[in-house]
């Protein structure tokens, strides 16, 4: 009785933050004891001040919004195109036959390697970043969508046919809903990619955005601000991921595994 009480306290939201707090305390102790050069590892207090300063000021808000906007546009466009391509691949044997090798081939190419190419084509700025995110999000969506459609049980298709579904309705009425869980899985991957590509691209080739900001703070030696900005990115990425999980739970209420998905 007592043991399970103790266990549930451990795992409550409050309980789960404790290790993070412990890490902060260790960090603070290390800084206070001057075990490391403070310019290499600013104390949590200083980083905290910097974060407050950043959040209060406009710099981080503006830059963060720019980055998020670029990532979002690339994500939406890339996912839409990826879903469409995935649907085409699953429904048309010929299309798949010729597209599959290309899909498989580009799987191994790190999309960030294309950034220099994109700079050659579009120069420095938003177009490059959006394009990089677009390309990165394409693949997971294509793979997951076509997998979701291809795994539709034939009994489901036949049942729909026997109920009068016309061939051109099948895609929207049967295949797409059935593929939805896989599409959401792909979206979670694509979301992660969108952040990586947006930040990478900005670090390499942009005039604004949080990636550029982090880089600049580093170059100018404002390390507490650098740490603070990185911290902001970590938090935003975490929140975006959680948000997607919540959205997934809502849209997939009907799916057997919904409960377990949200919990992870």
């Amino acid at each position: 009785m007592q043991r399970s009480d103790r266990r549930s306290v451990f795992w409550s939201p409050a309980g789960r933050i404790v290790p993070l707090i412990v890490i902060c305390l260790i960090w603070q102790a290390v800084s206070a004891a001057k075990l490391v050069d403070p310019s290499f590892l600013p104390s949590p207090v200083r980083v905290g001040y910097a974060m407050y300063d950043l959040l209060a000021g406009r710099e981080i808000r503006d830059n963060l919004l720019v980055t998020l906007a670029r990532a979002a546009i690339g994500l939406v466009l890339g996912s839409a195109a990826g879903i469409w391509l995935g649907l085409m691949m699953a429904r048309s044997e010929r299309f798949r036959a010729y597209a599959a090798p290309i899909v498989g081939g580009t799987y191994s190419l790190p999309k960030s390697a294309l950034i220099p190419l994109l700079i050659l084509w579009f120069g420095i700025g938003t177009a490059t970043t959006v394009c990089a995110v677009f390309l990165a999000c394409l693949l997971p969506m294509v793979v997951n969508t076509s997998q979701g459609v291809a795994s539709t049980p034939r009994v489901l298709v036949w049942g729909a046919e026997a109920l009068g579904t016309r061939p051109r309705e099948m895609l929207l009425r049967v295949f797409l809903p059935h593929a939805l869980p896989d599409i959401f899985t792909g979206l979670r991957v694509a979301l992660g990619f969108s952040f990586v590509l947006a930040i990478s691209s900005e670090m390499i080739a942009a005039t604004n955005g949080i990636g550029k900001l982090i880089f600049m703070y580093g170059e100018n030696g404002a390390y507490d601000y650098m740490f603070a900005a990185i911290g902001c990115v970590v938090v935003v990425a975490f929140l975006a991921d959680r948000l997607l999980l919540v959205l997934t739970g809502k849209c997939l209420r009907w799916h057997e595994s919904t409960v377990s998905q949200v919990a992870s």
Partner: protein
């Protein structure tokens, strides 16, 4: 027999797809539809590729990058597997590390590059550590899932046969969890390559990524294309190798 025919057909289609793209590429470039800066002819790229191979710059860059990627992957594997197993065996360890992992997993690890450069400089060691940092997450998560799923009955049997805890680790848990750990490694491999290339592109310090950026800055398009194609091929080859390894040991693949 049918399977071989299918495989053959797939291979032929792959070749046709690739050839079509190459031919189109060459045609568009030669027709002058795009400036040589944007789209150098395939043959030009090929010639450049040959040049950089012959003078040793591409191989040396490739070696540097691969060394960094593999060193980081190796470090991540050692740390990740041990941590994953520890988390599976001890609830305390799991409780301690789970929030950190959950918080950092969705974040773009490349954002941490400036920290690593600050602490370790711009040459190999910072890249290796960043790669290790990026790869450790999928490995820990995969190992934890695999080790937790190891059949309790086996563990109890081993205990009752007098196996010590350490022996248990090596003779029961690790072999049973290995297939899924290997799967996690297959996921971590492209992560290691991407992180290496990106870190080199952002932070310099030699390697494929750095040369790639350098070429772009000087508008050397054929070199840019040549390097990107090399990365593509390297990625394909490495993944195919891992697949072969996985298939060569069916025991590692099976559902136990």
């Amino acid at each position: 027999m049918e399977n071989t025919a299918n495989k053959r057909a797939l291979q032929i289609r792959s070749v046709i797809s690739v050839l079509t793209i190459v031919v189109l590429w060459e045609a568009v470039a030669r027709a002058g539809l795009a400036s040589p800066l944007f789209l150098p002819a395939f043959t030009t790229v090929l010639a450049e590729w040959w040049t950089v191979c012959a003078d040793g710059s591409l191989p040396s860059d490739l070696l540097t990058s691969l060394f960094r990627a593999f060193a980081g992957l190796f470090a991540a594997t050692v740390v990740g597997v041990l941590l994953g197993i520890a988390m599976a065996r001890s609830r305390l360890v799991h409780w301690m590390f789970d929030p950190v992992i959950a918080l950092a997993f969705p974040s773009p690890k490349i954002a941490f590059l400036p920290i690593f450069i600050l602490w370790f400089g711009i040459y190999s060691i910072s890249k290796i550590l960043l790669v290790a940092f990026a790869c450790v997450f999928p490995i820990v998560i995969g190992t934890y899932a695999a080790a937790s799923a190891v059949n309790r009955v086996w563990i109890w049997s081993a205990y009752s046969l007098g196996t010590s805890n350490l022996a248990l680790l090596f003779r029961v848990v690790l072999p049973a969890a290995w297939p899924r750990i290997f799967a996690a490694l297959r996921v971590a491999l492209p992560v290691s390559l991407v992180t290496t290339f990106t870190a080199e592109m952002v932070g310099g310090g030699g390697g494929m990524g750095a040369t790639l950026m350098y070429s772009q800055r000087f508008f050397e398009s054929p070199t840019v294309f040549a390097y990107i194609l090399t990365m593509l091929v390297v990625g394909l080859v490495l993944d195919a190798m891992m697949l072969k390894i996985q298939q060569a040991f069916p025991a590692w693949h099976g559902n136990v």
